[in-house]
């Protein structure tokens, strides 16, 4: 049994026949080769699989590919196209993670970056508490989160200054 889906991922259109039970994360990774989105827990707890679905952060490990049909998806590979990049080719959030040492092993990082992009879309000047709360569905075992908070603060500042 298979079903046809049609999605736009990072600005490109795809039409595929998939098993109805295929997880969105496996669709992105195995069929489209977008391996920047990771599988960390298979239960929506860790957030390593977070992608933007119609602009909102969702866990792609507990969503079926067929449920995403007709949707616009952004993965870590496409995130830099969402904001002015200042010539670096990086989204300000990516820059922030690099500048502030917001990552160590890097496995949770794509999900952290996607969640940060989602937060800053809703709240351009988040407080530290708001930043920490935004990561309620993203786990990091390496950094202790402090540099991640700084990374988001860096990005918020950068994004504001670039808008001006």
């Amino acid at each position: 049994m298979s079903a046809e889906i049609e999605v736009r991922v990072n600005g490109k259109s795809y039409r595929n026949q998939v098993e109805p039970r295929l997880l969105l994360v496996h669709y992105l990774r195995d069929l489209l080769g977008l391996t920047g989105t990771h599988v960390g827990c298979e239960t929506s707890i860790c957030g390593a699989c977070t992608v933007l679905l119609n602009g909102k952060a969702v866990k792609s490990c507990t969503m079926l590919a067929v449920q995403a049909s007709g949707c616009e998806i952004t993965t870590i590979e496409g995130v830099s196209a969402l904001a002015p990049t200042n010539g670096s080719g990086l989204h300000p959030v990516q820059e922030g993670f690099w500048e502030e040492h917001g990552l160590q092993c890097g496995f949770c990082t794509p999900g952290m970056i996607i969640t940060s992009v989602d937060l800053l879309r809703r709240n351009a000047s988040p407080s530290q508490t708001e930043i920490r709360d935004a990561f309620s569905g993203n786990l990091c075992r390496c950094t202790g989160y402090q540099h991640i908070v700084k990374a988001v603060e860096y990005a918020a500042k950068k994004m504001k200054s670039r808008k001006r």
Binding site: T37, H38, F97, H101, F107
Partner: protein
């Protein structure tokens, strides 16, 4: 070290990051090979059972399935999981790659399916029928050592794996001369490491070249290669191990796992590449656990706070089988029982116990957090008993600066330290005096506030080869390519620590070039000379030193050649800003690239000099290093709910010289937060049937961003004399120093309730019950 540092000690941002922040890195599961097949493993639902029979016929005929194998099918083809640790009179507990007669923990593999895709493999394991004869599980380690307990292994009369004893100083006299003796039982609960990337293996066999390549998420590529070759009965040069990007380890990937050999075997058997990616549930059940000791402690001391003697009796739950270092880890607790104190007499007995659980092994800190927790709780118990400030009791027992190198009664020699300095700085940075005043006020207002202190020392930079099961040195090869670009190969195998950056800083500093021109290569046994790996806070202290030595060797050759070309004494040459020149005479100068070109064109070389530019060094450390520090924290407990909130955290760590402070801060933060996890949230719970009921991230809480306050970190610098870089290592400091500070804060908060000690984790229910019981007593 070069005189004026341009890069060393500077907070350079990481070279690793661009690929990681753009989704361009490759972890094991990101690898795709033509014809790739997928393996899934059927695991035991029983903690203890006899396998009567296995029927794989339905699975074999399932769509897409190419192979199904049981433990019985492979037992003669793959060796057991290796254990490198040996303790005198230790019982053997070898783990077969798949169980073939008896299963001994929930999650032990019994059969494997290989199929054309991931989902088909996973579907097919449900079609395998196993007939188990359940046996009584052995779960509680204290009951496991009773004579009436069932035993895990036929032929053994009990479940005691070993008794390990250590005694130094005159214990009898210490306890005889004491004014007071306190006894306390402490439980250091079992933890699950939870690297964000689970384990994973891809293997490919090329029969023409007789070459098995195994990509594995591991911390020890070379040791793994040696062990895999032995398990699969292949010559070692036929096995190549590659560690792609590794998504965290924390010791859980410092091991040789059944699946690494199994997937290699499957690839050879099928002639097709095979991938196995651990699910999170498998990771909880089947990747090593940490800690799990029950300690009975007895301390003898004088009225002035001087500690005279310490007796520790610990029961260490090893689980059902030995992984690579399982039996060794608890003995590190014994070695470090003295903490950063001068205790004249110490006696330790550790009983290793076999139970129907996953093996314990090295989890960040590995045996030392258990020691530090114990001794730091003891210091606070003494302070509370004598109604003295815990900082004063600590100061009273620090060794004097003149005592260094300080030999403990447990037989280790602390390299260098200044414990009062780190304590003073931590007290100053936290405003300790004021905190105590505020605590008095808060208590008057009816609030439950606690202040916790820990002064720790850890044993790191593992270590001299004489003390290490598989050697304790590290290797490095540096090669300057004809273009002038430098490839620096290290036997260390970083997986998040950032040594692609810090070693590039080292290379740039020594050769007077840019960090961007130094490419650090690790984790491929076909490219990098044999090495030991990254664990035990050794990456920089041992691996970095090897890198330093190879770089200095290479610099020597460059200087000789440059001196020859410039017609000056090589000893007078300075390497800086892409040039090699005479310091007092900068016009006598030659470009770095020109010297490199001369080495490769080989048209004008000093007599006897070989062409080319590379150098290899192996560093054998003369001792471990002993980083230390002082942590202070404040907690407040909600009296209505028992909720413990961490309000303030101040850390002062001394890891010797620092190559990159940004990376050190990151290590310290991460370590403290893992400590916070142990103190407040984490506990691997097996029920009485041996079921792991905290078997997913849904049931096992690790710290989240919102759980934590801003951590204030600072450093003192006491260079280590053990290596020329003067570095001590920092990977485990946070997990060693922070847990006791948090526990001491909670005990301090609860002291008005008459609570002297409470075991971790400090979950609301436990704390609330204690407070309620005390209120009832008061009534």
């Amino acid at each position: 070290m070069p005189e004026a540092n341009r890069y060393l000690g500077k907070p350079l941002k990481r070279k690793e990051d661009p690929r990681l922040i753009q989704g361009l890195a490759h972890y094991v599961d990101d690898l795709v090979l033509p014809g790739l097949h997928h393996a899934a493993i059927l695991r035991s639902p029983y903690a203890h059972a006899q396998i009567r029979s296995i029927d794989v016929s339905k699975a074999q005929s399932a769509p897409g399935v190419v192979l199904v194998l049981t433990g019985a099918d492979i037992r003669d083809s793959i060796g057991v999981v290796p254990c490198a640790a040996q303790i005198p009179d230790m019982k053997a507990a070898p783990r077969p790659v798949l169980a073939h007669d008896r299963v001994r923990f929930v999650g032990e593999g019994v059969a494997v399916v290989v199929a054309a895709d991931r989902y088909a493999a996973r579907d097919a394991i449900d079609l395998i029928e196993v007939d188990y004869q359940p046996l009584t599980p052995v779960v509680d380690p204290e009951k496991a050592i009773e004579k009436s307990s069932p035993v895990l292994y036929e032929g053994y009369k009990d479940n005691i794996a070993y008794r390990w004893q250590l005694e130094g100083g005159n214990l009898k006299a210490a306890f005889k001369n004491a004014d007071k003796v306190i006894k306390q039982r402490m439980v250091n609960q079992r933890l699950i490491p939870v690297a964000m990337e689970t384990r994973g293996v891809v293997a490919e066999y090329k029969p023409g070249e007789r070459q098995l390549t195994v990509w594995s998420s591991t911390q020890i590529p070379h040791l793994l290669r040696t062990q895999l070759a032995a398990m699969l009965d292949q010559p070692e040069h036929s096995v190549r191990v590659i560690t792609p990007e590794v998504g965290g380890g924390f010791g859980s990937k410092l091991n040789v796992y059944a699946e690494e050999a199994l997937v290699g075997f499957l690839a050879m058997r099928l002639g097709k590449p095979v991938k196995w990616i651990e699910t999170r549930r498998e990771n909880f059940q089947n990747t090593i656990h940490g800690r799990d000791q029950i300690q009975d402690v007895e301390v003898a001391f004088k009225r002035d706070g001087t500690i005279l003697g310490l007796r520790v009796h610990a029961l260490a739950d090893l689980g059902a089988y030995y992984q690579l270092l399982t039996p060794l880890i608890p003995t590190l607790t014994g070695l470090m029982a003295s903490g950063c104190y001068k205790i004249p007499a110490i006696g330790v007995e550790i009983i290793g116990v076999l139970t129907n659980k996953m093996s314990t092994d090295a989890y960040r800190g590995a045996g030392r957090p258990e020691a530090t927790y114990m001794i730091e709780r003891v210091l606070d118990l003494v302070a509370a008993e004598l109604k003295k400030d815990p900082a004063d009791v600590r100061r009273k027992n620090f060794p004097k600066l003149a005592d260094f190198p300080y030999a403990t009664p447990t037989g280790v020699i602390y390299d260098s330290a200044n414990y009062p300095r780190s304590l003073d700085l931590a007290l100053k940075n936290s405003g300790y005096k004021k905190l105590r005043q505020e605590q008095v006020k808060a208590r008057k207002q009816g609030r439950c506030v606690g202040i916790g202190l820990s002064t720790y020392v850890e044993i790191c930079a593992m270590g001299p080869s004489s003390a290490m099961p598989a050697g304790g040195w590290e290797s490095s090869t540096v090669r300057v390519e004809p273009s002038g670009m430098v490839n620096l190969m290290t036997g260390a195998s970083p997986h998040g620590q950032g040594q692609e950056t810090s070693f590039a800083q080292l290379g740039a500093e020594i050769l007077g070039i840019e960090p961007a021109d130094v490419n650090v290569i690790h984790g491929d046994t076909a490219i990098v000379p044999y090495g030991i790996g990254t664990f035990g806070s050794r990456g920089t202290a041992v691996g970095g030193t090897a890198a330093y030595m190879s770089l200095m060797k290479l610099r020597g050759k460059l200087a000789t050649l440059a001196g020859f070309l410039l017609d000056v004494d090589p000893a007078k040459l300075v390497f800086s800003k892409m040039k090699i020149f005479v310091k007092s005479q900068p016009s006598k100068s030659i470009g770095f690239g020109e010297v490199v070109a001369a080495a490769y064109s080989a048209k004008k070389l000093p007599p006897g000099m070989e062409p080319g530019l590379d150098a290899t060094s192996f560093f054998e450390p003369g001792n471990f290093t002993f980083p230390f520090g002082a942590h202070v924290c404040v907690v407040e407990i909600d009296k209505e709910t028992g909720d413990v909130r961490l309000m303030k955290y101040v850390a002062v760590d001394d890891c010797g010289n620092v190559l990159n402070p940004l990376l050190v801060d990151g290590q310290v933060h991460g370590g403290i937060v893992q400590s916070f996890g142990q103190a407040m949230l984490e506990e691997a719970v097996y029920d009485e049937q041996g079921q792991l009921i905290t078997g997913e991230l849904m049931d096992y809480a690790i710290p989240r961003a919102a759980d934590l306050p801003w951590m204030e970190t600072d450093r003192t610098v006491t260079p280590s004399p053990v290596n020329p870089l003067g570095v001590k290592g920092v990977g485990e400091a946070g997990t060693i120093g922070a847990t006791p500070a948090l526990a001491n804060a909670v005990a301090d908060a609860l002291s008005p309730y008459g609570v002297r000690h409470v075991d971790m984790p400090f979950k609301r229910e436990r704390i609330w019950k204690l407070m309620q019981a005390s209120s009832r007593r008061a009534k």
